[in-house]
Amino acid sequence: MSARRLTYLCALAALTAAACTKEAPSATEPPDPWEAPTVGANGETENAPTDLGGGALPGPSRGVRRLRIDTLQAAMSKVAGNDVYGAPILWRVNGRDGFSDLAFGKALGRPDYQTSTEESTVSNALYLKFVGDAARDICMQMAKNDMKRTDASRALFPKAPVDGTATDAQVTENLQYVVLRFLGLRVAADDSMVTNLRAVYDAGVASVASPNGGEITAAAEGWRGVCVTLFESPLFHND
């Protein structure tokens, strides 16, 4: 597993831990602990931990919920908007929509009611990998198409120019815009989500030279990083 993937999983854990720091009141006493065996396989007596080292089960609220594949496909495409020719921006894999059954739809878990009948609501490693692939592909398309548009009609950076002249206020305003567009959250300019995303943006801008001669500018690269971050955010997939 790559360091990036580990970081991502850690981030997921951090979200759930940070979001619920108080114990929920319990109406009933906890059940009796599991009766652990006191004699090991080698016949020696040993003191096993009462919970076998597994710890308490997380409450049902910690369970990861996400969009179904159909709605994930529709949501990413809708957030991405259309390209400059009016066609929807899709996750492209060998010329196909990456979420279709001819590409990775079935691998992602879309049931066909023949070989698979239920869609898991748990985000597994495969789901995270494909969502990351989709996010990077779609965000690059969004950035490239936005580069060809005028400010107002842009999907990813309508509030801030990407020619290196954007002010802090414009960047902040655009961050608030994309958080609303991607996550449905209306956040204040000083919200920690905005400040953290600003760090993502700045790191993206700093990661490429300006001018770099590429299709997208350094600022657009910053917005592409923000885009990937928001698509990969648990808040995009979970309630």
Binding site: T28, D191, N196, G204, D239
Partner: protein, 552 residues
């Protein structure tokens, strides 16, 4: 590139670990029971009812509101996107996506390439041997049949001797050009081997034959019976599988979904999903049932159209987008007697089990204790150890589906319940067929006279004094099963629970000893649901619960 990804992930970790002011609360309560911002409420509602997220303009339209306006909910529930969501929801309940073979070698059409153009033929060896002699592996030759002509007496295509194989001499006819039923353009023609292209509709077995009489060429029992039988007018009796099968299977799936549409858009009661006699047919489905279903070999699914299925609409195969509703007769009952359900769950036990899961919320579980005082051997699963813990309940329910053949969707309503002997059973169809008898009937040894072995429909094998429910349930059909569950209110209770899970993405808390017990709220919604019988209203009631507006 790697460094780019690292900064993205690191920053992302920072982003999600720090609680947002929009979502975090500094109070004593865990965030689990916290109201969602109105924009997130809108996002949740839009995903659940429309299958997509809102756009920025829609978020802006609810800015500053404390809760979503009723008009918005009405708009979502009336949208076409909600209809699609209801389709997906019911497919997840019923798994109705049949994937079965609809043809076999006796009436499928293969092609052989002559001069780069395809020539159609039926690949069945028995039929080929009947037409051309030899070992049955030969097709026609690359020559127009006009150059060979036809026999003036029999009307059969003339042939030329082609050679000798391991069985004997074989000869071959030429090809003719025919407009096939699957081509909408009447000017378009395909090449077909002349024997296979014959348009004769009936054949006659002469006096003296045990089955003397006239029969249709378009039936399984005509297989290899007459040299004059081919694929019929416009090749209607035969199937190019790659063209026809996907369209028919797709139509079978759509047939269920059209019924779902009618009973979830508010025009028809929701419970009608399980009671209506209506069914929809398009061109491919109607054509398949008129010409192909009765040709399927007995070892595959039996889907022959029966009088109980109502009149088939007169549609051309190419009428793919034309759907016509027809009224079926008893024992049909809503979507659980549509082919897509019957073919997805091919045994009566499987059908009963899925019915219990989807509409009664009941699952069979193996016993947790040792079974005693039971039969260790034997075919009767209601008595056999371990098996009986489920089958005592399952068998009487399965009997409700007995009037539909297993491994098929054919109604057995008009079939004789019993024949006194196997010979009489074979004569249940013409020309007589013991294979047909064995497909649908089973012998029941007479304990008084071992030589007397009456043949009874398989679903009635255990319909005796020791299993008094099976006979009445068989005759009552699925409609009676549904009726009992509608009258008890169980259907609407379970539908409410399933909708709750669909919307909340979790099971309801039905433990009355807990503080967040949700049983009372669900019971109220289910009771109302039973009265108004409108799934949209039930969804409206559920999304207006406080639980839907909070995290999670």
């Amino acid at each position: 590139m790697k460094s780019k990804r690292r900064w993205q992930a690191l920053c992302f970790a920072l982003l999600v670990a720090a609680p947002s002011v929009a979502l975090a609360d500094e109070g004593e309560q865990c965030f689990l029971h916290r109201e969602l911002p109105v924009e997130r409420q809108l996002r949740r509602l839009s995903i659940d009812l429309r299958g997509n997220v809102p756009d920025v303009a829609e978020y802006d339209a609810v800015a500053g509101l404390s809760e979503l306006p009723d008009a918005l909910l009405d708009e979502y529930l009336a949208s076409d996107a909600f209809r699609v969501q209801m389709r997906r929801y019911h497919e997840s309940l019923l798994w109705t996506n049949p994937n079965i073979a609809l043809a076999d070698v006796t009436f499928s059409l293969n092609t052989v390439s002559y001069d780069g153009s395809p020539v159609y033929f039926v690949p069945g060896q028995g039929k080929s041997a009947l037409y051309r002699g030899g070992d049955g592996t030969h097709t026609c030759q690359n020559k127009a049949q006009d150059t060979l002509g036809y026999d003036p007496v029999t009307g059969l295509p003339n042939t030329e001797v082609m050679g000798t194989d391991g069985v004997g001499t074989w000869s071959a006819e030429g090809w003719v050009e025919v407009h096939p039923y699957w081509e909408a353009d009447p000017a378009k023609k395909v090449k077909v081997c002349a024997f296979d292209a014959q348009t004769t509709e009936t054949y006659t077995l002469p006096a003296g034959d045990p089955d003397a009489g006239t029969y249709s060429c378009d039936h399984l029992m005509a297989t290899n019976k007459a040299k004059t039988c081919g694929c019929g007018p416009e090749l209607s009796y035969c199937m190019p599988v790659g063209i026809v099968q996907p369209l028919v299977l797709s139509a079978l799936r759509e047939q269920v979904l059209r019924l779902v549409d009618e009973h979830t858009d508010g025009t028809q009661p929701y419970s009608g999903l399980l009671t209506t006699k209506r069914a929809h047919y398009n061109g491919p489905l109607s054509f398949y049932l008129r010409h192909h279903a009765q040709r399927q070999t007995l070892s595959r699914t039996q889907n022959e159209h029966q009088p109980a299925d109502g009149p088939l609409p007169d549609l051309a195969f190419t009428d793919v987008d034309t759907w016509v509703a027809v009224e079926r007769e008893a024992p049909h009952a809503g979507l659980i007697t549509l082919p897509a359900f019957l073919l997805r769950f091919q045994t009566n036990r499987g059908r009963a089990n899925r019915y219990r899961i989807a509409f009664l919320g009941q699952y069979f579980q193996p016993p947790s204790t040792k079974d005693t005082s039971c039969e260790k051997e034997g075919d009767d699963l209601t008595r056999r150890c371990v098996c009986r813990s489920c089958h005592v309940t399952l068998e009487p329910i399965a009997a409700y589906f007995g009037q539909f053949t297993e491994a098929g969707s054919m109604s057995l309503r008009d079939f004789a319940r019993e024949y006194p002997t196997r010979k009489a059973c074979a004569k249940g169809i013409g020309p007589q067929s013991t294979a047909w008898c064995d497909r649908h009937y089973v012998s029941v040894p007479d304990e008084m006279d071992p030589d007397l072995r009456p043949y009874t429909l398989k679903a009635l094998q255990y319909a005796d004094d020791e299993h008094p429910e099976i006979g009445p349930h068989f005759e009552a059909g699925p409609a009676e099963l549904v009726k009992a569950d509608l009258e008890s209110g169980r259907f609407h209770e379970v539908a409410t629970e399933h909708l709750f899970s669909f919307l909340m993405k979790r099971e309801p808390n039905l433990d009355p000893t807990t503080t967040d017990y949700e049983g009372d709220a669900l019971a109220k919604i289910a009771a109302d649901f039973r009265v108004h019988d409108d799934v949209r209203q039930a969804v409206r009631d559920l999304v207006q619960l406080p639980a839907y507006r909070r995290m999670p």
